[in-house]
Symmetry: C2
Subunit: 140 residues, 2 copies
DNA sequence: ATAAACCTTAGAGCATACTCTAGGGCAAGC
DNA sequence: GCTTGCCCTAGAGTATGCTCTAAGGTTTAT
């Protein structure tokens, strides 16, 4: 006895809107959703797990197009495992790059905050420069 | 003697297209750019530094609208330091959240990769299930 | 004097990812 | 039988962030 979930339930569980769920299906990010006698969608536990994973990778900036490709491979079965593995490895690489970019800018922001602090303390007022011939204080 | 840079040079230095540089100026992310007698833009070192910082924060998903606000505050001078500081602190928070999301999905991807490996090794073939009455192997 | 290499503007067009609207069906309760 | 609460589709509309086009100006070299 497999349990199925309605559109409304899945929207609640996943945090996505019903619009978005239908949109993802139209874009083929979500495939093979069962229907009841009224043509209403019936989502399985597997479907929900996939939507949750999809949401996660999307939040790490994987384009919908790529997610669609992954969903397609997944639906084709085990013969596509190597290809899916490759996609995930590439995405891991992109995530690592994102983390590195984020850490980098975090440092730059801290530097700016330190400079602001020094300016507030009256040190470093000498850093002020003339900006394009207008008396606009610098931020740097 | 302050040095100035042409549109083309700034595009090369920053890696942004000339189109994008003009677009950012129209959107008021870049302010108060000097002009020569031909109405050509003259970018200062400060301008370039700002564009480089702007590019960085943009890459950490700060919306252009927020960057515009920051640029505006910056142009208003030291009286807006506290407000700018607040913006940066909030953005630091968002960056921390992004890093945490990314690290999290990195772990999930690794789990998936491990499962793939097990399937490739012939262990876990029993994980295969029937997907919506079709014989579509699971990914999970 | 004319071509090439710069630059300018306004505004149109495009890609991505939703988000909403219109028009309609079905099933349960009053 | 009719309202309420679900659900359905197709397609239009919106927001963001570019990206390009058209039409034209200036400077420098040939």
């Amino acid at each position: 006895m497999e349990k199925y979930y309605s559109m409304k339930e899945v929207a609640q569980i996943t945090g996505l809107s019903e619009h978005t769920l239908r949109f993802y299906e139209k874009q083929q990010l979500i495939l093979n959703i069962k229907r009841d006698s009224n043509n209403y969608r019936l989502y399985s536990d597997f479907d929900i797990q996939w939507i949750q994973f999809l949401t996660k990778v999307k939040s790490t900036n994987m384009p919908l197009k790529d997610i669609q490709k992954y969903a397609e491979l997944m639906a084709k079965g085990n013969s596509t495992l190597a290809e899916r593995e490759e996609m995930l490895l590439k995405h891991k690489q992109r995530i690592a790059e994102q983390i590195s970019t984020l850490s980098d800018i975090l440092i730059q922001i801290d530097n700016k905050l330190l400079r602001y602090q020094r300016i507030r303390e009256g040190i470093g007022q000498k850093d002020l420069e003339i900006y394009n011939s207008l008396t606009i204080p610098q931020d740097s």
